[in-house]
């Protein structure tokens, strides 16, 4: 039971990072400014690298090889939240998603640095600097673009309104929530959400974006349970196109 709960926790974090890292990498070479193109690509690489590290932990717990896990499962077997699988849209949506997700991610790993599962706590401590950069980048750009021109403010507001219900889906409780907390693996999704709302509110208060009326935002759940939008399976098909030419081959 303990191990099932731990694996579920690791899978959902890793799946989030892999899928969002993949999505964000689609911007490489298409970004709005060369320097931003480079920064956004680095953060996508960090995400894929972090997911790889987590799949390696899972592998040590008896799960299959990271490549097999990442490239051979179908959408129903993925535990990522739906927020990360949505198409990139325009840069406003990608940035807002980056801000909402990475704010949560930084808090999540901060909490995980206290995890009773030592390899996870070690990983969380190790990647602290990466996550700090991601939130520094997100906060800097949202602060700027959220207070700049009517177009930039309007775009971010619109994307924020679309993304918020999905963002709350990050915190969809696990069926093993009480066990995860009791074992000290992780402080739990409710605690994470509470801290996340404070950070999001504080940053938005420094912009001209509207304060969020949280009770009116209805969370979109399902992703943690393998229920996904129509966008995930095509993403996975594309990602594994070469790998599946011959999954037993070395590429």
């Amino acid at each position: 039971m303990k191990e099932v709960a731990l694996k579920e926790l690791l899978y959902k974090i890793a799946d989030d990072q892999l899928i969002l890292g993949h999505r964000n990498s689609e911007w490489t070479g298409f970004g709005p400014l060369l320097e931003e193109d480079i920064a956004f690509s680095s953060m996508a690489q960090d995400k894929v690298g972090q997911s790889y590290a987590l799949y390696q932990l899972l592998n040590q717990l008896g799960e299959q090889e990271p490549d097999t896990v990442a490239f051979m499962r179908n959408a129903q077997q993925f535990h990522n939240c739906q927020l990360v699988e949505l198409p990139n849209g325009e840069y406003d949506f990608s940035l807002i998603r980056h801000f909402l997700f990475d704010t949560a991610e930084a808090i999540r790993f901060d909490l995980l640095s206290q995890s009773s599962y030592q390899p996870l706590a070690d990983l969380a401590k190790k990647i602290k600097g990466e996550l700090q950069y991601h939130t520094l980048h997100a906060n800097t750009l949202i602060k700027k673009l959220g207070s700049a021109t009517p177009e930039s403010i309007g775009r971010l507001q619109n994307s924020l309104d679309i993304a918020l219900p999905y963002a709350l889906g990050i915190f969809e409780p696990s069926p093993f929530e009480s066990s995860i907390i009791a074992e000290g693996f992780f402080a739990g999704e409710a605690e994470l959400q509470k801290q996340w709302i404070l950070k999001v509110d504080a940053l938005l208060a420094q912009t001209q974006l509207k304060p969020i009326s949280w009770p009116t935002v209805k969370a979109i759940y399902g992703g943690r349970n393998g229920q996904h939008t129509e966008h995930l399976q095509p993403l996975l098909d594309e990602m594994s196109e070469v790998f599946k030419i011959d999954p037993t081959a070395e590429w």
């Binding site: 298409f30 320097e35 480079i38 920064a39 690489q45 198409p87 190790k126 602290k128 800097t140 594309e238």
Partner: protein, 205 residues
């Protein structure tokens, strides 16, 4: 557009007429300095375009320190770099400074002084001086920071015009040495190749 790149196939079709850029529709220029290791001096590495010094700092990090090691960077607006004449041969740039008498009542500030010691190389941090103006800072550099070699170019930057890496930001580069996938050394396939060649040789024989 029908492309082999699935990303390109997902690009939106633009409805509005594509126009050329407005002349000089471009962001500000910021100079980037990098310290690769503790005890090594900061060195000029290049520029980024950004809206302000904070964004310049954020963008400079990934533009210039994606590999090897880095402990700290800083950025400053190009307009905040005071530049001496560029000299060659045996002419020392410090000897070309115009005469200058600072006003004794001026407020003193810290300035960082950079030297170009070999033409074609980067400007390197020589030290810090206290002065009331960039001109005075350069004169102080002339008195205190030379070590006998000719300096071909001097830069003076007011410390208050610099966005430094804060102590709590040193952690930003912590995993940099682990990102081996960006280094040539991580791509060794010699064994595979040797085995393959040996096998091919046998087949031919």
């Amino acid at each position: 557009m029908k492309s082999l790149d699935p990303r390109v196939n997902r690009l939106p079709t633009l409805s509005r007429e594509i126009t050329t850029k407005v002349p000089l529709d471009q962001l500000g220029t910021y100079e980037v300095f990098v310290q690769a290791k503790e005890n090594k001096p900061f060195q000029h590495e290049g520029i980024v375009h950004a809206s302000d010094i904070e964004l310049a700092f954020v963008l400079a990090k990934e533009t210039f320190t994606r590999r090897f090691t880095c402990v700290s960077i800083f950025v400053t607006d190009t307009r905040d770099v005071y530049v001496s004449a560029l000299t060659e041969g045996t002419v020392n740039a410090y000897d070309t400074l115009p005469p200058y008498t600072p006003n004794a009542n001026n407020i003193l500030e810290n300035y960082l002084i950079f030297h170009l010691l070999k033409r074609g190389k980067q400007h390197v941090l020589a030290g810090k001086v206290t002065a009331s103006t960039p001109q005075e800072a350069m004169l102080k550099g002339k008195e205190n920071l030379q070590d006998g070699k000719p300096v071909f170019n001097v830069w003076a930057i007011r410390e208050s015009a610099i966005r430094h890496t804060q102590p709590e930001e040193m952690v930003l580069w912590k995993t940099l040495p682990d990102k081996k996938y960006r280094d040539a050394s991580d791509y060794k396939a010699g064994d595979k190749l040797t085995r393959f060649l040996a096998q091919r040789k046998n087949e031919i024989l």
